[in-house]
């Protein structure tokens, strides 16, 4: 049977020194030794942490506006868009009579894949991905975060368009309306 491809020639007699493997062992040890004097790359994790980039996507969280209101209006868009269906919302009326609010807002963090679709789709900018990345849990129930926990994680983000002032006619709404009207005319 003819050989296919190139035949590899192997060195036959490499001498006694090479046959003892000593040069190879010393060469390997020299590489190890060299690494001792190189800069250390290990990050001492619990003490040191990595500087996460600005656009890092960690666990999602709900936010309140500067008036202390839950920004979420239970429109169900995030629940609809969520690829692993990690979000569970139940809506309720809120006292303002204008908007809805979430009665129940659970995110199953074990389902969540931190894709950021909820943040992207949210019309009220009520849900954000935090930089939280080292949360772990001991049970599945523990990792379903309820509304209160999500709000505590998210904190406060001011509402630049002052939606509530326009909708409910409180807190300087007359001035807002007047100035807006003036601008339109």
């Amino acid at each position: 049977m003819p050989l296919i491809g190139k035949q590899v020639s192997r060195p036959r007699n490499r001498g006694l020194l090479a046959a003892s493997y000593l040069p190879s062992i010393l060469k390997g040890m020299w590489i190890t030794l060299r690494h001792i004097f190189r800069p250390k790359v290990t990050m001492q994790y619990p003490e040191q942490t990595w500087q996460l980039p600005e656009n890092y996507r960690g666990l999602p969280a709900l936010v309140k506006d500067d008036g202390g209101r839950v920004k979420c209006v239970a429109c169900f868009l995030c629940q609809y868009v969520c690829p692993p269906k990690a979000i569970e919302i139940e809506a309720q009326e809120i006292t303002s009579g204008v908007e809805k609010g979430p009665k129940l807002f659970n995110i199953n963090m074990l389902r969540c894949i931190m894709c950021g679709y909820c943040e992207e789709v949210c019309p009220e900018q009520a849900i954000f991905l935090t930089k939280e990345s080292t949360t772990i849990g001991l049970s599945r129930a523990e990792m379903i975060f309820p509304k209160e926990k999500l709000l505590a994680m998210g904190g406060v983000r001011p509402d630049p368009i002052k939606k509530w002032a326009r909708l409910t006619g409180v807190a300087g709404s007359r001035e807002t309306r007047a100035s807006e009207g003036g601008a339109v005319r």
Binding site: V41, T42, Y45, S133
Partner: protein, 183 residues
């Protein structure tokens, strides 16, 4: 312990008591201390989470600092299974069998969304969480989780192990007496 050993040791040159000279412990806690600092993980890498699992062992994160760097590809030598990735129904019997082959005591970390709950694969072909087939101790969310999160998981397993050993103490669960306190 006799009365004479409670006081300062004569001729020792200082006033340390017997309890301060000799460290005593319970066998269960001693064994747990050994186990805790030499967890040998079984890398059950099934998908992309395994890349982060490798990163955890690599020099940057270096899980050797916690004694868990000896990844054993033989289940007989491992005591911590890290399920990293999507457990499809076809793979599930193999995962279960490998878990059964691991000697007791053993722990399981479900790493990432897929292993913890099925993640985005709500599919007929995917196990909805590896805890449907084997008991899981620590769940790590993320897709994939950062190596830091996995290190947190390993540290949590170490803590669980310690707690379990200490809970066997008849004089009160989870209580640690300071070394050298009067017994």
């Amino acid at each position: 312990m006799s009365e004479t050993l409670q006081g300062p040791i004569e001729g020792a040159g200082d006033d340390r008591t017997f309890d301060q000279w000799v460290m005593t412990t319970r066998l269960a806690e001693y064994v747990a201390w050994g186990r805790k600092n030499s967890l040998w993980p079984m890398p059950m890498g099934l998908a992309c989470c395994a890349i982060e699992l490798m990163a955890m062992v690599a020099p940057r994160y270096d899980v050797a600092r916690f004694g868990a760097e000896a990844l054993r590809f033989s289940p007989r030598q491992a005591d911590l299974m890290i399920v990293a990735g999507t457990v499809v129904k076809k793979m599930a019997p193999a995962v279960k069998r490998i878990f059964d082959q691991m000697p007791d005591p053993k722990w399981v970390i479900a790493m990432g969304a897929c292993a913890s709950s099925g993640g985005m694969f709500r599919s007929y072909s995917v196990t909805q969480g590896v805890d449907e087939i084997i008991p899981v101790d620590v769940y790590i969310p993320g897709c994939p989780p950062r190596p830091e999160a996995l290190i947190e998981g390993v540290m949590r397993v170490q803590q669980l192990l310690d707690d379990r050993a200490r809970a066997r103490r008849p004089s009160g669960a989870g209580r640690r007496e300071p070394v050298g306190a009067g017994r």
